[in-house]
Symmetry: C2
Subunit: 202 residues, 2 copies
């Protein structure tokens, strides 16, 4: 089993942190997506969408989409559970993971695509659209801070994949100058805890 | 238990079809989002994002995000399984569900927001961005057709939540003139089968 990875990209990092929390070791193969090393016929056979990460199983078949890869590992090694335990908690983890992805990570991605220097020349850009997405992301991050007022983790009593998604989103957001604000003390506390876990450096 | 629903919206429909496949009956409460009936303090207490569907449990607590609600029901009533069985199949269902959501449903949503008549006046629009998203959606639908060449369902041996996502996406896409093309015979066959299931009218 091996995973195709790119250290600097946020999606593969989600899986690396997940694996570190589980204590699972997987061989990593670096693919330099900024130099289009993923735009090859061989790579498209592994994932027709050309995106990372990809988990290649021992029979040569491949899984892509970071959360799908995480779910595979949750199934083959349930402990510690990172998708919740029991119907209600599993649903809350799914709900929060999606809220972070769709409401915050996605707009931050648009900011990267439409406003960042590093994404220049990678497609038609709409800077004004990027600015709207930036305001949306900032609003949602303020909401996230308020949600964290009275709890240690976002989705339930334990650290979960939704927390991993927040951590990767916040560190990626920083690269496009979207920062935790001084008055967002709940989020700052959460961030300090999450980024102090050994898994954060994975 | 009751679910807040809006018959014409694609996300609540995903859950209604899922429930119909499971044979589960849940009381539905209509919320007219086109008249902003979801923009009330009472509604924001149920879901701070103001979106549908919402499942209100008997203790008054709420779950939102359609896939999270579906997962709740999968856990309390596993048969028939709609998220797959076993690690590999569960991961494939998750992968396909996400591919359809992120690569096709999301661009179709942008087409609705930026180009459709019905979404006029609901926020700043970038028609040229909408056109790019439309081309992306059309490309991905062509890819989906090719993926369905040799299999009956998208993610594995059985009908799954990923098929439900395709059905709701295609029917929503039709409202913005994104149609199955005559040469896309695999997708047409898949669509004919999926929309003939009794659950499709839910």
């Amino acid at each position: 089993m091996k995973m195709y990875d790119y250290t600097l990209a946020p999606s593969p990092r989600r899986v690396r942190i997940f694996l570190a929390e589980k204590g699972i070791d997987v061989d990593l193969v670096q693919v330099d997506i900024m130099r289009n090393a993923n735009r090859t016929p061989e790579f498209y056979q592994k994932n027709p969408l050309g995106s990372l990460p990809i988990l290649e199983l021992d029979d040569g078949s491949c899984l892509s989409e970071s959360v799908a890869i995480c779910r595979y590992f949750e199934e083959i090694q349930p402990a510690p559970p990172l998708f919740g335990v029991g119907a209600r908690e599993k649903a809350l983890v799914e709900m929060w993971n999606r809220r972070i992805e769709l409401e915050i990570f996605a707009p931050v991605g648009h900011v990267w695509s439409h406003l960042s220097k590093v994404a220049e020349g990678r497609g038609r850009r709409f800077p004004e659209f990027g600015e709207i997405q930036k305001r949306a992301a900032l609003d949602r991050i303020a909401w996230l801070d308020s949600e964290l007022t009275s709890r240690e983790f976002i989705a339930g009593p334990n650290y979960s994949i939704a927390d991993i998604t927040i951590l990767c989103m916040l560190d990626f957001a920083r690269t496009v100058d979207i920062l935790i604000q001084p008055k967002q003390t709940n989020l700052a506390r959460w961030y300090s805890n999450a980024s102090s876990r050994p898994s954060a450096t994975a």
